[in-house]
Amino acid sequence: MGEPMTDAWCKCSPAAEMLERATAILQNTLVENADWFDVAASVQGDEEAYARLVRRYEKPITGLLWRFTRDPAQCEELVQQVFVEAYFSLKTYRGDAPLLHWLRRIATRTGYRFWREKAREPQETSSAEFDILEQIEATEEERIDPSEAAAVLQALLARLPAPDRLVLTLMYFEDCGTKEIAERMGWSRAKVKTQALRARRKMKEIAEREHLLERLGWTL
């Protein structure tokens, strides 16, 4: 008679790890199959199938677009634009990558277009942006609110030109490498690397001008 499985066995044994990995693969496969079914139905004009896809991927797409604007109304508009554009391009989705990757590519390009259009508009002094940077107070790293950290970072990034801002936004918030950024934007990897290097240098200058280090009071 075998011994009953303990919690320790579940967490540590290689068999448990394999089981966990297999479950994850199975779950991914199930989601991908569901995606395929819904994509095929949507192309045939099934609105409910497309609504299911929208509900399934709305959260990660909103999370990505939240990095392009922190205004809820603008962000919602961008999310809608992404899904409308995706609907009319569904026939071009070949399925060689998961649907979420394809949607993320559309979302990144939509967000980038939004920045470029905004840059062409007459500039208004964004007092909210200044307020965020002015209000930075010395807080322990563990105690800083993630929303506050994101707002500060986004306010600093907003001072960069759109291509620099995009590369750093994807690196900082999405943890993307140069390869992924290049794929999402259709740029060469060399271009992304150069852009990232230049953007980091500019960002460092901006942060130093704002005395970010002294204001936060963090130590290594």
Binding site: Y50, V54, E58
Partner: protein, 87 residues
């Protein structure tokens, strides 16, 4: 302390942020419906193409007719002058 390290730490913290969810499925469905079927845009395109083809045929017909009235300047040079008897 390196400023870039501080920025990286801020980014790590920022990634934990809970982003809002809007529930856009119904709005997307409405926008797709209002965008309408794509084939509608083909009708004005076909009409424009047809009109252009008719205009082009008229111009070609006129050009062929006018071609025969044109004089070749080289041939004019080589043609001997008519001698006119004055008396």
């Amino acid at each position: 302390m390196d400023t870039l390290e501080i920025l990286a730490r801020l980014a790590r913290k920022a990634r934990e942020e809970q982003t809002p969810v809007f529930g856009v499925a119904d709005a997307v469905r409405l926008r797709i419906r209002s965008a309408g079927p794509q084939s509608v845009t083909l009708i004005p395109l076909e009409l424009f193409g047809g009109l252009s083809a008719i205009a082009a045929s008229v111009i070609v017909a006129l050009a062929i007719q006018l071609w025969s009235y044109m004089n070749n300047p080289v041939m004019e040079l080589l043609t001997p002058l008519q001698e006119i008897r004055l008396w």
